[in-house]
Amino acid sequence: MMKEIRIHGRGGQGSVTMASILAISFFDDGNYCQAFPSFGSERTGAPVQAFARFSDKPIRTRHQIYEPDYIIVQDITLLKSVPVYKGIKGNGKILINSEASVKDAIGELGGIEEENVVMFPALKIALKILNKPIVNTTLLGAFSALSGDVTIDSVKKEIENRFGSKLGKLNAEAAQTAYNYIKGDRSGF
């Protein structure tokens, strides 16, 4: 069965990188995968989207993702200008980088059930571990825990492959911390 993920971010936040790391992690877990950007005007700060699919069968279709199983939002301020929730499947989950509560955001999420919204303090974790406001790798760890569709080991391995030994290890640590957080272990946080 194929599942689809749509990532919303702003130019410079590494949404395309995130989609590609996710795709390669799905592959490591034994799936077929696809990741691609929706290149708008590539300006820093402008809203961007990236897409990822995985399936146990080869993936042929190439259209953009309109009915995602998961949505990941890197920046909660996007909710004011972009209908990030659009088309989400019935029980689809939306993961948002924010310290706010679900109640604070639900009014801007087009009627999604509260139980399908996960507010997650990725920025706080990223600042603590990476000392940088880049949350893509942290969100990948959270996505692994939340979805159960990709192993944290594959995610960490591909983060390290992408960013090299030093930066890679730090980013993998951020992903693991995020994973633990979602699973209820907030020790590294």
């Binding site: 390669i24 077929y32 290149f39 953009q64």
Partner: protein, 390 residues
């Protein structure tokens, strides 16, 4: 080895396996990653080639023309405006019968400026005398580049081969690609280039010299003939590749669920994936529908197309480029092929969509199937227009 590669990386990887001696290119979106990867391979010593930096596409094409005339394997890549700037030289490469391989990361033509995918750039150079192949996915793009050199360098072809890959949709998509581990096996498939005529001080020839009215027509005829001959060479290159590497995508065309199909969707390039998924759904719902993939646009696979479509009722042609003042391009050629074979029972409907990067959705394809049943010989009508911008 199976791995996840960005399309551009897969293309660069396929080119690397062909071991070109001279690469020259000027960067243009969405081709840039391809030549960046190749440049990196050369810098790292993974590919023993000369990568010649230039200031324009006209120069890039001129460099590979000159190098190819010296008898070495050459490669360049471009897109859109860059291709148009290169066009004069592409005519010369074909006219001098040089086996250069060129990738086009297909992109819309300005104005207005648009960096996204369609096939207008390819259509602008369709009469240059270059063979034009179109890849459906990144696996085929990888394999097709290796095949391209073999086709180009065939003694009885000796023409440039252009490999079309949809910009962004393929070049910037990560997907699973099985790369070839054995360079020896590729060398067996694609032996070293050995040109009969080349620039050689020991045995001098002139290339592209003036041809007076007494010989120019014959030079053009020879090119025209070589293009016709290349049909079998393209098919053989695909079959031989299948024998050695176990992957096949069709020769000049490929059929998908065409048995008993009354409705047929004809398309080129990356949209075929989305089309095939929709056709699977429609087949499950009992509809007699199939897909004809055009893998070689030049030479045009007239015989294959007629054989595939002659028993169909409705043909839907996805046009990702337009001919202002006429209509469709691919659909016109298909209609002409059927007319020549005295088949007038097939309605060939060309629909224009996917211009300048507009997404082609399964809903679009379903819509075309419904429309085509009520229409006859539509000539490139635009699909999905936003009234507010007209």
């Amino acid at each position: 080895m199976k791995q996840v590669l960005e399309g551009s990386m897969a293309i660069a990887g396929g080119v690397k396996m062909a071991e070109p001696h001279v690469i020259s290119a000027y960067p243009i979106t969405p081709q840039t990653h391809i030549v960046e990867h190749l440049s990196q391979m050369v810098a790292d010593g993974d590919l023993k080639a000369e990568f010649i930096m230039v200031e324009s596409e006209h120069s890039a094409a001129s460099v590979v023309l000159g190098a190819s005339a010296c008898g070495v394997r050459t490669y360049t890549a471009t897109a859109a405006q860059g291709l148009l700037y290169m066009e004069e030289v592409v005519y010369n490469i074909a006219g001098m019968r040089l086996p250069v391989v060129i990738t086009i990361a297909n992109r819309a033509i300005s104005a207005p400026i648009n960096i996204w995918n369609d096939m207008q750039d390819a259509m602008a150079i369709r009469d240059t005398g270059a063979i034009m192949l179109v890849a459906e996915n990144n696996q085929e793009a990888y394999d097709m580049h290796i095949q391209a050199f073999k086709i180009a360098e065939n003694r009885d072809v000796m023409l440039p081969v252009i490999v079309n890959v949809d910009g962004f949709v393929l070049t910037h998509t990560f997907e699973v690609v099985e790369t070839i581990d054995s360079i020896e096996k590729v060398r067996e498939y694609l032996p070293p280039l050995n040109m009969e005529y080349k620039l050689d001080v020991e045995n001098p020839y002139s290339f592209g010299t003036i041809a007076e009215p007494s010989v120019y027509t014959e030079a053009r005829y020879n090119l025209y003939n070589a293009m016709n001959f290349s049909r079998n060479v393209i098919i053989d290159a695909a079959k031989e590749f299948d024998d050695m590497f176990g992957r096949f995508y069709g020769g000049l065309t490929d059929s998908y669920k065409m048995d008993d199909a009354q409705t047929v969707i004809v398309a080129m390039g990356s949209v075929l994936g989305t089309v095939k998924d929709v056709v699977d759904e429609l087949r499950e719902a009992g509809k007699k529908i199939g897909v004809l993939k055009v893998r070689s646009f030049r030479p045009f696979p007239e015989e294959e197309i007629v054989a595939a479509l002659k028993n169909a009722k409705n043909v839907i042609v996805i046009e990702k480029a337009i001919c202002p003042g006429k209509g469709g391009i691919l659909s016109v050629e298909i209609r002409d092929s059927l007319f020549k074979h005295k088949i007038n029972s097939v309605s060939v409907n060309g629909y224009t969509l996917g211009l300048g990067g507009r997404d082609i959705t399964p809903g679009n394809i379903h819509g075309l199937v419904e429309r085509a049943e009520k229409e006859e010989n539509v000539d490139g009508e635009f699909i999905g227009l936003s009234q507010q911008y007209l």
